[in-house]
Structure formats: structure tokens, C-alpha cells
């Protein structure tokens, strides 16, 4: 059995992950701070907000699920278990920042559940706040964040290499895959000519499926072997992360494949793989498409579609599918709060369950489609000239 997994790509993924631009802006609310820290941080100094939080209400005072949903599909610096604001119970994760004074590390519990830029953490004479899970640096401790017209802070942002929820999920997926495939590979080594048992007999049909129906069918009989480690890594990594995103308890449904930075890393790697496997015929087809009369129009189109748009579509497809799945489940659960009745749960929960089960299918399907399309693009790139 050939080398199953090639994880060298993953190091670059994690680096790209942590420089993740804020996609959504929300309104903010006022808080005062004091609190305790444990490994699980619980805050007793509850601020009286009334029954509901101003952030989750629209102008007419109705419940607005959008901020809650956006918060749930975003990356976070802690595992949020339950509760709102200062009552929240969460598991903190390490914050790792690279500033002009070097490396700064602390646990996210020092923010005291604040993600509105109010609680200032002082380290090495620098002041940090958490604004919607992005870390910003302040000049003075009494300073507040300055927002531009669109609500994005203009303060300096240190390079954030934190082990966030998404990064943790990626690490967990890597460890899981190493364990599964390491064990499987060892079983094959030890089994000799006998049929391997246990985990190996579970992964074998999947590996053979990827080899026969994805790699051989699209890359080609002769050249597929070289791409097997990459294609298997893609398929199993995306699948496992998609499935882990559906687990509401540990690892707390991190929306990793629904993070555009992550899917972009996958797409960029795919772009390099396809571009570097492209032979003379492939590049000739892109730069000198026939007939010559339409060359000035055709060349840019061929170039954009083969080098950029294909991979842009890969990025958007995975991101949007997984994010949409998470949004639908959260929207259905939000129905209970929109209608303000427990009875609604009788409708919302079965629907959410149905969508969750559908998402199990989507998790595998998106992993399959991503791998299949990458294999197809590689196949186009390595194909011999037929003209």
C-alpha cells in the first residue's frame, strides 16, 4: 500500500487560517467587568440586561436571529458551551499573538467572555481587546476602539496565530486521520497475505473507491498513482472535518470547512498541484488557443478559467455548502425564539434533525465533489495533446 497521507500541506493551511478577515459586523452593547477564572470560567457578576439581549432584537423589539447565527458560524477564541454574556460557560483556548514586541500568549479566559472590545488585557505593556473574535491592539488601556463607517475597527491588529476553535478542529482532524490511517497501514504490513481486519477493513473500500472511481477514472490509468496521496488526503480531510462540524458537543461544531480562509487554502493548493502537473499540451491550449482569429479574446478567457475561476469555484462551493447547512440548522432552532413558544420546538427540532441527517450526506458529497473536481482538473492538465 502506498504512502497514504501527505500532511505537508496542512502546515500552510493553519498559517492561512489564522489571518482571517472579519466578515460580519454586528452592533455592540455595554458591559462592566470583573470576574473569576478557572479552566471553565463562570461569571457571577451578571449584568441585568432584561430578559433578552439588545443585540438580538430588531427595531420593532422582535427577536432577530441573525447575530446569533453569524456568531455560531464564525471562528471563536473559546469553546462556548452555554449562556450569554457574563453568564456564559466556556472552555478557554490559547491566544497567540505576534506583535512588534514579539510573541504574546495568554488564555482567552482573560477576556472574560467579552467579544465587544470592552475588556482590555494587558501584556508586555500592550493592550488587547477582542472585537467579534478578532484581536485588536489599543494604545492606552482607557482607549476604545475606533470604528469606521462600516463598523470595522481601524485599530492595529497584531498577527493572530491563536489556537482558535477552527485551528483546534484542524489539529484534531489531523491526529484522528494519523491514528486511523497509521493503524490501517500497520495492519496491512502485519497481515501479510491474509485479509486485514479491524479499521483497515473499514477504510479499504473507501480508499479503493477514491482510487478507482475518482483517481483512475479522471486522472487516467497511467498517471493516477502519483496523485493518490494528495487526493486521499483531500477526501478524508474534508470529510472528517465536515463530520466534526456537525457534532454539537466536543469539538463544538467548529465551522471549519465553512471558513473561507480554509477553503481558500485548499483551493490554492489544488491550483498549484494542477498548474504544476500541466504539461506542454495543457499550457499550449491555454496560451495559444486555436483558431488564431479569436486569440486575443480566447487567451484571457482560457487563462482566467483554467488558472483562477475553477479554483475560485471550488473555494466558494465548499464554503457556501457547509455554511448554508449550519445556517439552516440554526435558523430552524431560532424559530422557537422567533415565535416565543415552546410548542414551536415540536416543529423545529424534527426539521433540524432532518436537515442534520441531510448534512451527513452533504458532508460526504462535498468531500467527494471537491476531490472529484480536483482529479478532473489534474486529468485535464496531464492529458496528452489530441490535436
Amino acid at each position: 500500500m502506498h504512502k497514504l497521507l501527505n500532511f505537508s500541506a496542512l502546515a500552510s493551511l493553519t498559517v492561512l487560517l489564522s489571518t482571517n478577515a472579519p466578515l460580519y459586523a454586528q452592533g455592540h452593547e455595554e458591559h462592566g467587568h470583573k470576574g473569576h477564572e478557572h479552566i471553565i470560567t463562570v461569571h457571577e457578576d451578571v449584568e441585568v440586561h432584561g430578559e433578552r439581549f439588545p443585540e438580538t432584537e430588531n427595531e420593532e423589539g422582535d427577536y432577530d436571529p441573525t447575530p446569533v447565527i453569524m456568531h455560531h458560524i464564525q471562528d471563536a477564541h473559546s469553546f462556548h458551551i452555554y449562556g450569554e454574556g457574563h453568564e456564559a460557560v466556556s472552555v478557554p483556548l490559547p491566544v497567540i499573538l505576534w506583535t512588534e514586541k514579539g510573541l504574546v500568549t495568554f488564555m482567552s479566559s482573560e477576556f472574560h467572555h467579552d467579544s465587544h472590545g470592552h475588556h482590555v488585557v494587558e501584556k508586555k505593556g500592550m493592550y488587547f481587546v477582542n472585537y467579534h473574535e478578532d484581536i485588536f491592539q489599543l494604545e492606552r488601556p482607557d482607549e476604545t476602539l475606533t470604528l469606521d463607517e462600516e463598523g470595522h475597527p481601524t485599530n492595529t491588529q497584531p498577527l493572530d496565530f491563536s489556537i482558535t476553535k477552527n485551528v483546534f478542529t484542524l489539529f484534531l482532524a489531523c491526529i484522528l486521520l494519523f491514528l486511523i490511517f497509521g493503524t490501517a497501514a500497520r495492519k496491512y504490513k502485519n497481515a501479510g497475505h491474509k485479509v486485514p481486519r479491524g479499521i483497515a477493513s473499514f477504510v479499504e473500500p473507501l480508499v479503493v473507491y477514491v482510487r478507482d472511481d475518482i483517481a483512475k477514472a479522471n486522472v487516467g490509468e497511467k498517471k493516477h498513482e502519483k496523485y493518490m496521496p494528495y487526493l486521499l488526503t483531500l477526501f478524508f480531510l474534508i470529510w472528517v472535518i465536515n463530520l466534526m462540524g456537525l457534532i454539537p458537543f466536543f469539538p463544538f461544531s467548529a465551522n471549519l470547512t465553512g471558513n473561507i480562509a480554509f477553503t481558500m487554502s485548499l483551493a490554492v493548493i489544488a491550483m498549484f498541484v494542477v498548474s504544476f502537473s500541466g504539461g506542454k499540451a495543457y499550457w499550449k491550449h491555454i496560451f495559444f488557443p486555436k483558431p488564431w482569429g479569436v486569440w486575443p479574446i480566447l487567451m484571457p478567457i482560457e487563462f482566467a478559467s483554467n488558472v483562477i475561476i475553477k479554483f475560485f469555484a471550488l473555494m466558494i462551493r465548499l464554503f457556501a455548502n457547509i455554511t448554508a447547512g449550519h445556517i439552516i440548522v440554526l435558523s430552524l432552532i431560532s424559530l422557537v425564539f422567533i415565535f416565543q413558544s415552546v410548542g414551536m420546538a415540536a416543529v423545529a427540532v424534527p426539521f433540524a434533525l432532518f436537515i442534520s441527517v441531510l448534512e451527513l450526506l452533504v458532508a460526504a458529497l462535498q468531500a467527494y465533489i471537491f476531490t472529484l473536481l480536483v482529479a478532473l482538473f489534474i486529468g485535464q492538465a496531464v492529458a496528452d495533446d489530441h490535436h
Binding site: A217, A320, T323, L365, I369, L376
Partner: protein
């Protein structure tokens, strides 16, 4: 926000028509030639993914807007 929702709805109409066509024709193809169902399924999924990808561009734009 409501305009974004209309945009999302329009994108979904497009995807619905597209994937409906792809799925329907694949069904016809499989009914006519059941032995080719494996190949037809693969081609169907690729085509459906491409249609869906175009619709998702619209959804993402309406999500951001």
C-alpha cells in the same frame, strides 16, 4: 436585507431549474440504459455541482450584501 433575500431566492430558482434538468435527464438516461448508471451518476453529480456552484456565487453575494 430584504433585497438580499430576493437575490438569494432568484439564485435558488436558477439552481433549481438547472439541477432539475440535470437530474431529470440523468433519470431518463438511466432508465434507457441501466447498465450505464454508474457513469451517468458521476457525470450528473459533476454537472449538478457546477450548476450549484454558480448559484452559490449568488447566495454568497447576498449573504455579504
Amino acid at each position: 436585507m430584504s433585497f438580499a433575500a430576493i437575490g438569494a431566492g432568484l439564485a435558488v430558482i436558477g439552481a433549481g431549474i438547472g439541477i432539475g434538468q440535470v437530474g431529470g435527464r440523468a433519470m431518463e438516461g438511466i432508465a434507457r440504459q441501466p447498465e450505464a448508471s454508474g457513469k451517468i451518476q458521476t457525470a450528473m453529480i459533476i454537472a449538478a455541482a457546477l450548476v450549484e456552484g454558480a448559484a452559490l456565487f449568488g447566495i454568497v453575494v447576498s449573504l455579504i450584501a
